[in-house]
Symmetry: C2
Subunit: 341 residues, 2 copies
DNA sequence: TTGTATGCGTTATCAT
DNA sequence: ATGATAACGCATACAA
């Protein structure tokens, strides 16, 4: 069933059918109705490939993410897909893993597929060595490139992110102001966002004129999902003589492990160990006590990112960088504020 | 840059270029090399839309799932995408939510997009009233429909699933054999898979000639993510006089809430309360003690499902139903087996 | 307002 | 082994 069939049955030309199909105003109401009736009767739907060929677009956006089963990335992908679909776009998902070569391959796969735009979810797409980011610049030559939680200054690249520096700084300050100075910062990513969080932690100490020690900034290199491994890692630090009364973690899973560590070592939370996580994910409510965690406004970010993308595709000039503020969600792993007592 | 440009530059016809492009054997090696060189030099890639129009396929599979941010579904989507990409297919993701109307709309959106096949992730796509499943039968008329963890007998519909009945039965038996008879079954889904798990629980009691009470089969209707709500729900049951020494949950999140409930009520795990979850997700290792949980072989299922799909698309005859056995992963929320003592 | 004719970039069927 | 040419199904500039 093609546009030709419809045109014959309705006794009009294919141009008229096409006009009806595309809501062109230059069609007499009666003609329109006649054509629509035939379409209805035949259950006709236009061929997406032919349409794509003619319009040079199938209204499809490529979503690139390292691992869509990651708690945080999965949420992002979900919200992005929702917003895209509401905006009339489809989502082509591509999980790249964390290796540069795979990221490049996945990106060109999407571009060859002729997507209208690309969304890179997570700050891990920006490489240390700027030369390695050429693949992003190349992509931006073809379609708008949206980065979620990354910062990259280049034409046709748009960044939507949370101010992780400030959020981490505030979280750290809240611990310091609760009287804790030996705060372990536990992180597992050195991406752009990872660095910002670390810098935020550090700046809180500087701001309070407190000494900053490298021993208190610990990088965990193991798997994201190995809670036990993280737990043992903390045990090791303790046994090596490091004393800390708070853990600020760059991800909820690390904070969850800290809760477990506390329990296994009979440390009272938050009296003997305060804990703050990051992402305000479902893990925050799976602990006992529940995690105090930084909410990085993922949903807002996704909505804004897609809006910016769709507006850009519509030919509108949009800001290249949009920044949201995080906020600390206080729960059981930190002492309540004074005025809450 | 089109096939015409290449043909001119290489001094051959477009047919030859097309042959080179598609690895057709009927090309003289020298000619092939000449053409490839030109392509290389120009960085030519064929237009995907034109290719789609000609072949009536863009090697794209539609993935339908209720909510890709759900822990379990996200893992499924991830593994499916990986396998599809390795097989040369792209993944068009579409999150439908749990309402029938939205599922129908999403499905026809994918079909209009002319995907080569559809994968429905999760048993929630099969409706109680079989008339409501007509949309699936209609889809199967056009493309192969793959169901993950659902059972639906119809031509061109392929099911890959875990034997939840048996797995739930075995998990329940393991509790009974540990000497516990008052086992609360806590569930939050009445989907096909949900019903099977419940039936498995029930059959374990029948098999052991134990009485089966409806009071011990509790449906939690709240949000999937509301751990506190579930916790209070258990509290309520207890206060209403129900006594149980084990909780078998249809999802890890419910089991996690049970762990929390035990902690808040100072119940020793597993001595006073044994707990078994389902899905063997990351939540299982976030608890203290860690959850004993049923592993439903998601990764195996996804691999097999995609393999079946790709083979089917290749014109091969494949089995319409593939069933995997689940297995119980024993951790801290249940007593160790005797022979392990 | 409507119709005609052409282009979009491939694939595939014929010839040669 | 290679080339000419007709689909594929739609959008659209131009003509009427």
């Amino acid at each position: 069933m093609t546009i030709y069939d419809i045109s014959k049955m309705a006794g009009v030309s294919i141009a008229t059918v096409s006009r009806v199909l595309n809501g062109n105003a230059n069609v007499r109401p009666e003609t329109r109705k006649k054509v629509l009736d035939v379409m209805e009767r035949c259950g006709y739907t236009p061929n997406a490939f032919a349409r794509g060929l003619g319009l040079n677009s199938m209204n499809t956006i490529g979503i690139l993410c390292a691992d869509s089963s990651d708690l945080y990335l999965a949420k992002a992908v979900y919200h992005i897909e929702q917003n895209l679909r509401l905006g009339g776009y489809r989502s082509l998902l591509c999980c790249t893993g964390y290796e540069l070569e795979n990221k490049k391959n996945s990106l060109s796969l999407l571009l060859n597929q002729k997507v209208d735009g690309v969304i890179m979810v997570g700050s891990n797409f920006i490489e240390e060595d700027d030369a390695d980011n050429q693949y992003i610049r190349d992509a931006a030559q073809q379609v708008p490139v949206m980065l979620l939680n990354a910062d990259f200054d280049y034409p046709n690249v748009y960044c939507t992110l949370c101010d992780d520096f400030k959020a981490a700084q505030e979280a750290t300050l809240s611990l310091i102001e609760a009287g804790i100075a030996d705060i372990l910062y536990l992180y597992n990513s050195r991406s752009y966002s990872g660095k910002n969080k670390l810098a935020g932690y550090q700046s809180a100490f500087l701001q309070k004129d407190l000494p900053l020690s490298r021993e208190y900034q610990q990088y965990y290199a193991g798997s994201h999902e190995d809670v036990d491994g993280i737990c043992h890692f903390l045990d090791g630090l303790r046994r090596s003589g490091l004393s800390f009364h708070a853990v600020f973690a760059s991800e909820d899973i690390l904070a969850t492990a800290a809760v477990k560590y506390a329990r296994l070592n009979d440390l009272k939370i938050p009296e003997e160990l305060s804990i703050i996580g990051y992402n305000n994910s479902i893990l925050a409510s799976c602990c006992e006590p529940e995690l105090t965690s930084v909410d990085n406004r993922l949903e807002d970010i996704c909505r804004q990112l897609v809006k910016t993308l769709i507006m850009t595709l519509g030919g509108n000039q949009m800001p290249q960088k949009t920044i949201f503020s995080g906020r600390l969600i206080r729960r059981g792993t930190t002492a309540p504020l004074n005025h809450e007592l």
